[in-house]
Structures are given as structure tokens and as C-alpha cells.
């Protein structure tokens, strides 16, 4: 992947803090932020919204064969996660001890996502880890 510094710099708020948008007219939440709401289009009232980051695994896979930059991580788990506010996002599930499950609850963790060689910039961002809900102390099945 060809990524230059400005391209990453532009999306730091989204990648570091899961900053997205909320349309107060239709009450739908979007991640990443959208310039136009697909429901209300130009009639939308969009405001910035920072997601809590907790969510539920909708589906997942374990990747054994990756592109060059991710090869060192294989095998790694990738999932589509539905955030509690509604939008779905793609992200890695970290944790060598837990095998992901559909329906598993997750929380965000701040991690290195990649680097441009030994002297290039380092990309940080959000991955997800299993969430132990305080009320039942057990992983949701």
C-alpha cells in the first residue's frame, strides 16, 4: 500500500479516537465521518461524534496469507464489528488467548497498525480486544 504522511495525518482523529459523524435529523451514526448523510443527503444535520468503541463481532476471519506489510502478523484475526451506536467497521481482534466468536463483545485498544519501513512514519490506530462486561464477568456467548 502506498501511503504518504498527509494521507495518514488527515485521518488521525478517526484512526486514534474513532471520531465520526452523527446526523441529528435521522439520528444515524456514521464511521468514518461522512460529508453527506445517505438518508437525508443535503438536508442532513451532521455533527462530529466520538464513538465509545465498544461493540459486537458480526463476522470474522483468521488471515493466514496477507499482503507484505501484514505478513509478520499472520495468522491474525480480522472482524467486522458493529459499534454500540450502530455503524459497522472493519478491524483486527487482538488477543492470543481468545478465539473470536460471532456475537463476542469487544473494546477498542490503541495499537501500531503499520510502518513505512525502518525510517518512515509509524501508523497508529484502533484494534479491538475482547470485552469482559463488568456486570457478568463473563464473555457473552
Amino acid at each position: 500500500m502506498t501511503t504518504q504522511a498527509p494521507r495518514f495525518w488527515r485521518s488521525i482523529p478517526q484512526r486514534y479516537n474513532l471520531s465520526g459523524t452523527h446526523c441529528t435529523r435521522c439520528n444515524e451514526y456514521f464511521f468514518p465521518p461522512r460529508n453527506l448523510c445517505p438518508n437525508c443527503r443535503r438536508g442532513a444535520h451532521l455533527e462530529e461524534y466520538t464513538f465509545g468503541g465498544t461493540g459486537t463481532v458480526v463476522t470474522f476471519t483468521t488471515i493466514y496469507n496477507a499482503t507484505e506489510e501484514f505478513e509478520r502478523l499472520t495468522p491474525y484475526n480480522l472482524a467486522i464489528i458493529q459499534l454500540d451506536e450502530g455503524p459497522k467497521i472493519t478491524g483486527q481482534i487482538v488477543s492470543s488467548l481468545t478465539v473470536p466468536k460471532i456475537g463476542m463483545r469487544v473494546r477498542p485498544v490503541f495499537r501500531i497498525l503499520g510502518k513505512e519501513g525502518d525510517r518512515g512514519i509509524i501508523y497508529y490506530g484502533t484494534k479491538f480486544a475482547p470485552l469482559i462486561e463488568p456486570e457478568n464477568k463473563e464473555e457473552k456467548k
Binding site: T59, F60, I63, T67, E68, L73, T90
Partner: protein, 387 residues
């Protein structure tokens, strides 16, 4: 709107074609189609060429002009347009050509597709293909194409009880069909066990669940049906053309086990054709991964949602079954030069409807369908043909 027909088809051998270039292949397929149509260059009004990533695969853009040049048409100054919609580039080129003829703007139009993928390393090719996904919000986090389809597969298994053996049955069938297709990349029978034992790429998809990296080109010649009847003894009418789009990223879709773009493209193509899915005798669907064929036969309306795996396992989609799917061998075994794939599907359906498909001929095929998907479902095209 004028009725449009195919009057000539051509397709190169698909595979690892280290001995030929993109230029050689587009010229070969184009000349075959022109000779099959028995027309001359002066009669051609326009060219549309599907090509996903000449820039990444051979560091060459401007494939429209290049194709006309390679086909020996430069001195006729025929307008030539390169069309891109990732793996649906060929299908989209066909639709652009159909619209040019149907509108009355052009009479004789060539729709072609070409991709030369093996001049670069497999890593570079995989990265070029990943550009069809959402680079910023999928690939950035480590998503690969097999991973996206694997996540659809995982959810389909969970919801509908689809098994990996049922997915493997798609690969087994398509390899069997490819053995009867002279242009196919693989002439090799495989078993469900072979698929299961092949290395895992992205759980539950193994290497033999994935389509290969390929070189190839295909072309078809279109004409208004009125003119086609005079030029050809066996014109193939295009009675439906549908196109739809959806979110670029898989995670933004309404349902992760349905390609809504396919559903919508099919709906408009079937409405235009005035027929029901059960009337289709033979179909080429987009099997970039085995699970993609299962999703396709459901989303096109050939089987009920959730029953695609079982239908495949029961042989309904094999040659001799209720609805033979991917008689060419599909992307899985005929090969998948991404820009050419959409045109190759039309080529295969034209051969089937003309009764020229040899050992893989579907008896008395009257209505055929070609389905082409870009990326994980951001674009879909459906064309319906009859003789």
C-alpha cells in the same frame, strides 16, 4: 431504444501467458471477434475496453487508445474508451457498448476486456487487486480480498448452516467444467478433499476456494438487431442489461450475506427482459471465491436465500443439472484476468446459445445470463441473452 445483438465473439486462452503481452492479447481477441462477425474495420463505430489496472500491472494507462492502435484501427480514428469498475470492468464495458448501440448513437460497437496480471509478483498483483476494496477503511487494517469474502462465508455458515464442503463443491464443479473448455487456465479435476487440504488463506477459504491470477482478453461485436440479422446467421440478442452499485466497504452494507448490487442489477435486467429467473437455461456468475458463487445464485434468484450451498452440493448447478452455472469453468478454473472476465462471460453464453460449446454444451439452451461483480459487491452487472 433499439434491440441490440452480438454478431461476433473472440477470446484468448486464459492463464499464465508469459509469452504474450497485453498488446498481443487484445489484438488477438479483437481480431477473432471481428473475423467471427465477418466485418471490416471501416464498419466499426466505437470501442469500449474493460481494464482494471493497467497502471499497476504493466505500468500502462490509456488502454482505450492502445487497444485501437494494437487492433490496427489507429488510422480509422475510431473512438475508444477504457472502462473501469474493478473486476466488473468487462461487464461495464459491455453495458456501455449496449447503451451506445441501443441509443442509436452507434451501430457496430466492440466491447472488449483485457488484463495482464502475471508480469508483476503475486504480492504486487494482490495489492493492485486490493485497490478494489476500501483502501482507507478495510485494507489499512489488514483486510485482504479473500478475508472479505471469508467474512461473508463465515456469516453465511452461521446463519444458514452452509458447510465448507458445500463451498468446495463449487470449485470441484467449476474445475470439472473447465476440463471441457479449451481456453481455460486449468484442465485439472479436483476433489472436495483436495480443496479442504489446500493451504488456508483466510478461514474458511483455502487456496482452492480462490480464483487465480491470470492473463487474458475477450471481445464481442455488437450491432442493432435489425442490422445483425443481415450480417449474422446466428445473432445473440441482449434482452436485459442491469447495473447497480453499493457501498465500497463490505462493513457498510445492509446485509453481509447478500450482494444488494447483484439483487438490484438482476431486478432491472429481468424486468427489461420480461422473464423470471427460472427461465434461464445457463448462467455465468461471479465466482471469484467459491462462496461468491453461492451468494450469486441466491441473489440472482435461482435458489432461495440460504440454499445456495445445498443446491451446489446436490448438483443442481452442474452441467446436466437444473441450472448449469459457470460452464466455462468460471473465474475459479477458467481463470480471472479481471478486466477480461466480464466479456468472457458474454463470450461463453454466446457460444452456449449458438450451440458451439462443444463437450460442455447445455442442451437446447435458449436463455443465458452473465453476472459480473466489482470488488466485494460495490458494483454488479447482469446481462440476459437469447438466440
Amino acid at each position: 431504444m433499439r434491440s441490440v445483438s452480438i454478431i461476433g465473439v473472440g477470446c484468448t486462452k486464459f492463464g499464465e501467458r508469459w509469452d504474450v503481452s497485453l498488446r498481443d492479447m487484445i489484438a488477438e481477441a479483437g481480431v477473432m471477434a471481428i473475423e467471427d462477425a465477418e466485418i471490416v474495420g471501416e464498419q466499426i463505430d466505437a470501442l469500449f475496453v474493460g481494464n482494471m489496472s493497467g497502471g499497476r500491472f504493466i505500468e500502462q494507462e490509456h488502454i482505450g487508445a492502445l487497444s485501437a492502435d494494437c487492433a490496427g484501427l489507429s488510422r480509422l480514428h475510431i473512438p475508444s474508451t477504457r472502462v473501469e469498475a474493478a473486476c466488473a470492468s468487462g461487464g461495464l464495458a459491455l453495458r456501455q457498448a449496449v447503451m451506445a448501440v441501443a441509443s442509436g448513437y452507434s451501430d457496430i460497437v466492440i466491447a472488449a476486456g483485457v488484463e495482464k496480471m502475471t508480469d508483476v509478483s503475486s504480492g504486487t498483483a494482490a495489492d493492485a487487486l486490493a485497490a478494489a476494496a476500501d483502501r482507507e477503511w478495510e485494507c489499512f487494517f489488514g483486510a485482504t480480498f479473500p478475508a472479505l469474502y471469508a467474512m461473508m462465508a463465515k456469516l453465511h455458515m452461521r446463519r444458514y448452516g452452509t458447510t465448507h464442503d458445500q463451498m468446495a463443491a463449487v470449485a470441484v464443479k467449476n474445475h470439472h467444467h473447465a476440463c471441457m473448455n479449451p481456453i481455460a487456465q486449468y484442465h485439472m479435476e479436483i476433489t472436495v478433499e483436495d480443496v479442504n487440504k489446500s493451504p488456508m488463506v483466510a478461514d474458511p477459504l483455502h487456496v482452492l476456494d480462490c480464483s487465480p491470477i491470470s492473463d487474458g482478453a475477450a471481445a464481442v461485436v455488437l450491432a442493432p438487431t435489425e442490422i445483425a440479422k443481415k450480417l449474422s446467421e446466428s445473432p445473440i440478442r441482449i434482452i436485459g442489461s442491469g447495473q447497480a452499485s453499493d457501498t465500497l466497504a463490505l462493513h457498510d452494507r445492509r446485509d453481509l450475506t447478500t450482494l444488494d448490487a447483484t439483487v438490484h442489477a438482476a431486478r432491472s435486467a429481468f424486468a427489461q427482459a420480461g422473464i423470471e429467473p427460472r427461465k434461464v437455461d445457463v448462467a455465468e456468475v461471479h465466482d471469484c471465491f467459491t462462496v461468491a458463487e453461492i451468494l450469486a445464485i441466491e441473489d440472482l434468484g435461482f435458489v432461495e436465500k440460504g440454499l445456495g450451498g445445498k443446491a451446489t452440493e446436490d448438483g443442481l448447478t452442474a452441467l446436466g443439472g437444473d441450472i448449469p452455472i459457470n460452464t466455462s469453468g468460471g473465474l475459479k478454473a477458467c481463470g480471472h484476468p479481471v478486466g477480461a472476465t466480464g466479456i468472457k462471460k458474454a463470450y461463453e453464453i454466446a457460444l452456449q446459445l449458438r450451440g458451439e460449446a462443444g463437450k460442455r454444451q447445455v442442451d437446447e439452451a435458449e436463455i443465458g445470463l452473465a453476472h459480473n461483480v466489482g470488488g466485494s459487491g460495490g458494483t454488479a452487472l447482469v446481462h440476459i441473452f437469447t438466440r
